[in-house]
């Protein structure tokens, strides 16, 4: 299989000699052609620095990276012709209309809207009724769709999407991921970053990233499989008191709230019966305890604690 993105020992630091912040700490991974690859991590993990290096907007301090076989430092011009980039912050021309923005981006890549229209058609028809409207006057969801069209209009082989769904409600997030699945079918390689752990499940493979380091790279299914230990879901009538008591319990390795249940990981020598006895002593009522399968967020926290 063709490799679309190669990242080898990339290091990026900011600041002065006295005070250095390491944004990316020796990062390496590869993305296959046609893959939908997710960079999953919170703010400050280094996601944007990585995207800016791969789109040739920032120079790494160490290491090498290539996109479509072209080095991001030496061959930056070729790289720029091949990538589409949608930055986290809306960065289209607010004073130009929807149509003008799209035309502008097509023109600077020596192409036209017509030439690659089939690529953006599905997304563009949703904003076409507003094509005369200034980009600055669009709603959040429409801005996002326009930005995606502009990033696609020159038919890039690799698409970089930096936190496209941050601050976006659950419905629009779902719609956006549906659009990505459709683009993937057209053979475009997509690198997408997100702080929402649940979106990891929608990627072919993901890298879990925290404080400039990759903690794990694999398919979402394999990452979940590599979770260590049996996870329990537990609830009672007083959830916060339950959380505090479970954290105090000597048999507990970790306990995290997870929607209507807490996710509990017990030590090997702890058992259910003793746990229930303990909780009865603490006067908990309405206890429900059952085995549960971990999700990416459980894995992320387990990896965070390990590092």
């Amino acid at each position: 299989m063709m490799i679309a993105i190669t990242v080898k020992n990339i290091v990026k630091t900011y600041g002065t000699k006295k005070e250095t912040i390491t944004a990316l700490d020796d990062i390496s991974f590869e993305v296959n052609g046609g893959e939908l690859f997710g960079i999953i991590g919170p703010d400050g993990a280094g996601k944007t620095s990585l995207f800016r290096i791969l789109t040739t907007l920032l120079l790494p301090k160490g290491g090498t990276a290539s996109v479509d076989g072209f080095d991001v430092v030496k061959d930056y011009k070729q790289v720029r012709n091949r990538v589409g980039y949608m930055p986290g912050r809306f960065s289209l021309y607010q004073d130009l209309s929807v149509e003008e923005n799209l035309e502008f981006f097509a023109t600077i890549f020596n192409t036209s809207i017509q030439e690659n229209y089939n690529l953006i058609k599905e997304i563009y028809v949703q904003i076409e009724p507003f094509k005369k409207r200034r980009a600055g006057k669009l709603s959040g969801g429409m801005k996002q769709k326009l930005a995606l069209c502009c990033a696609l209009i020159h038919k890039p082989s690799v698409l970089f999407l930096d936190e496209p769904t941050t601050g976006v409600d659950a419905v629009s997030r779902k719609e956006f991921w549906d659009m990505l699945q459709n683009l993937k079918k057209q053979g475009i390689t997509i690198l997408v970053s997100t702080p929402y752990m649940d979106e990891a499940a929608l990627c072919d493979r993901v890298a879990l990233i925290q404080l400039g380091k990759i903690m794990s790279i694999d398919t979402p299914q394999e990452i979940v499989k590599s979770f260590k230990g049996q996870l329990w879901a537990i609830r009672s009538t007083k959830m916060y008191a339950l959380l505090k008591d479970l954290k105090q319990y000597e048999g507990t390795i970790s306990c995290n709230s997870f929607g209507e249940f807490h996710h509990l990981l017990l030590k090997d020598d702890a058992n259910e019966k003793e746990l229930l006895t303990y909780l009865n002593q603490q006067q908990h009522t309405g206890i429900e305890l059952k085995k549960t399968a971990p999700v990416i967020e459980d894995c992320f926290m387990q990896l965070m604690n390990k590092n």
Binding site: G41, P42, D43, G44, A45, S139, G140, G141, M142, E163, T166, G167, V168, D169, A170, V171, S172, K174, P195, Y196, M197, Q210, M239, Y240, L243, N256, S257, F258, G259, E260, E297, F300, M301, M304, N305
Partner: protein
């Protein structure tokens, strides 16, 4: 026992020209409650919240926050509430100490009481060693905790949290919710917006706004029952999918 009502809205409405951003919303929030205020982008959450914080005068309807009228007593409201958002809360170029002192000053605390509060807070947050460091040098988790503590420094009756956990790592996000629970146990009412649907489960009651209207308001378990949904995510998707508007 009759619970004390700290937020009371009746037919609260805000129009911008022909556009009805918030359309006759009515609800009560009780003292010490964690009240989740959910809705799609553009549903009218921010506009509603601005009215409740005394920052925007309603077009019609009634509302009282901490017992004060949202038309005439906006200054009293501001003194009795705390506010924090993920986007802005602390001054990055001020030190930890300076930020605390600044907010204490804004809320009119005397010098002596501000100093005592500050020292207690630094000990409580285990940040005494960081007191002279710039806020921008702190890890995100610490910033969050400091921002929340500063928002309730003046012991407000209600604290408004506007997407307080956006982009925060999963561990810090949960630690942040523990702070919310602690505040609620002390009797502070928490009014919170979020895009994380698991966090909707942590609220005592949740309202879901669609196109300017409160479409549903109940405990998470009743909402799931009524909408025959397995999770709050499903409840939200069912309701918000019908939305006609979308904007920020």
């Amino acid at each position: 026992m009759i619970k004390e009502i700290v937020i009371k809205a009746e037919g609260l409405t805000k129009r911008f020209g022909d556009f009805i951003a918030v359309n006759k919303i009515s609800f009560n929030v009780e003292k010490g409650e964690i009240f989740g205020f959910l809705g799609a982008n553009g549903a009218g959450k921010t506009t509603a919240m601005r009215m409740l914080c005394g920052l925007s005068i309603p077009s019609s309807g009634k509302a009282a926050v901490a017992g004060f009228d949202v038309y005439k007593q906006t200054e009293n409201i501001k003194q009795n509430i705390g506010y924090m958002s993920q986007k802005f809360s602390l001054y990055e170029d001020l030190t930890v100490k300076e930020n605390i002192r600044f907010y204490a000053g804004i809320y009119g605390m005397g010098r002596a009481s501000a100093k005592e509060k500050m020292n207690n807070l630094l000990v409580q947050l285990k940040m005494s060693n960081e007191e002279n460091n710039l806020v921008k040098s702190l890890p995100l988790g610490w910033k969050q905790k400091l921002a929340f503590s500063v928002a309730i420094l003046h012991q407000p009756k209600i604290v408004f949290l506007d997407e307080p956990t956006g982009g925060v790592d999963p561990v810090t996000r949960r630690e942040f919710w523990n702070l919310i629970y602690d505040a609620a146990e002390k009797g502070i009412t928490v009014f919170v917006t979020t895009h994380y649907m698991d966090e909707a489960e942590y609220c005592n009651r949740v309202s879901i706004m669609v196109d300017g209207v409160i479409e549903a308001l109940d405990t998470p378990s009743n909402l799931k029952k009524n909408y025959k949904a397995a999770s709050m995510d499903e409840v939200f998707l069912q309701l918000a999918r019908g939305a006609k508007r979308s904007s920020d």
